[in-house]
Point group: C2
């Protein structure tokens, strides 16, 4: 049984612990202390113990955590050890890239099909995954008992697609459209705001360039 | 000149306004009021006026905002109207998908080359973008005056790659490795934690399924 009372901040750090521990495991190291993890990951030791306590019974005195077990416990908590199946709506550039992306395996996600209304893509395949018309959404979701929907349509169409996904039984939405989605209670929307990330990078660069210009003028 | 004193929260919302306004523009509507924007985007009207005041001189009484101008102002502020060039390190599944992704144009980002140390990919191309050995990083970055680096290597290699990018003159890093990166002052790290998103979706589903089970038992 997974413990759901863990804070968002802790959940945010857990994939980082997992990634770090997998790297250590490759070096054939069997045990690790909270102190070593804290130093390597530049975190506070108390924090590390607290975070890991939410997924593991904890390390043993003088031995520390057993790395293999801790990895299993983390993967189990994060749901990476079991596969969640998903559908994706919007087989444009981003949607096709995500549908064809092989890296989701590791995180326990498999996109079984993409949906679109554009004649150019419907009926085709993206790396072996079928692209269906959006009208087939309820049928496919119900048949395969799909609970995760990924939205990669343009902003204007996102709410309508979201409503259709919910009607088809979807309980968790991964939203790549940069719009706010309204959903009923019990449905989670996880927003992936890549547009914001790109704006933040660009703004930082502009700021840095401005500083350099100002420093030049001062000299 | 871009105004850099705008809050992160506002910057997070700006791409959403832009996306919404582009949809409205397609319907051949010329002007829009803050009230209409607020209602459509489910935001507070005061918030909308405040957010848009950071990029625009504002709407006119009875006319509202001129949509074309507001779009230009938003794109200008977010840096989407000028192209920032970037390099990517780690041409695995995710790195290849991002390098070949055509959708970054719209956000003013172009990845000019990918770097990797794996013999299987070095020397090849991803949708016309060259893949170089990591040793060529300083040369390529300096030659093209690249300031943005994208990290898609495994966690264990991320800090080393980050250091090499900074040595090559990079000022902004888009980090897809789920590890903490240490950087000197003046360098921005923008973390893209997809592992967290996937964990959040999976945890929510597990929680929902548990609730349904409990409700069944109660009946």
């Amino acid at each position: 049984m997974r413990n759901h009372s863990v804070s968002k901040q802790t959940i945010r750090r857990l994939p980082t612990y997992l990634s770090f521990l997998k790297d250590v495991q490759k070096k054939n190291i069997k045990n690790i202390s909270a102190v070593t993890i804290a130093e390597a990951m530049k975190l506070n030791e108390v924090q590390v113990r607290k975070d890991l306590a939410s997924v593991s019974k904890g390390g043993k005195p003088k031995i520390g955590y057993v790395i293999d077990s801790l990895i299993t416990e983390l993967e189990n908590f994060l749901g990476y050890d079991t596969t969640d199946y998903a559908v994706l709506v919007g087989a444009g550039n981003l949607g096709s890239a995500l549908t064809g992306y092989k890296g989701f395996d590791e995180f326990g996600l498999e996109i079984i099909a993409a949906f679109d209304n554009c004649e150019d893509v419907v009926g085709k395949e993206i790396r072996g995954k079928p692209v269906y018309p959006i009208s087939k959404l309820p049928e496919v979701c119900r048949e395969h008992d799909i609970k995760i929907g990924i939205i990669t349509v343009p902003g204007a169409a996102a709410q309508e697609v979201c409503d259709e996904l919910i009607n088809a039984g979807i309980k968790a939405i991964w939203n790549f459209a940069s719009v706010h989605l309204s959903v009923p209670e019990g449905v989670l929307v996880q927003n992936e705001n890549m547009a914001y990330s790109l704006a933040a990078l660009s703004l930082h660069l502009a700021e840095q360039m401005q500083k350099i210009e100002e420093e030049k003028k001062e000299k």
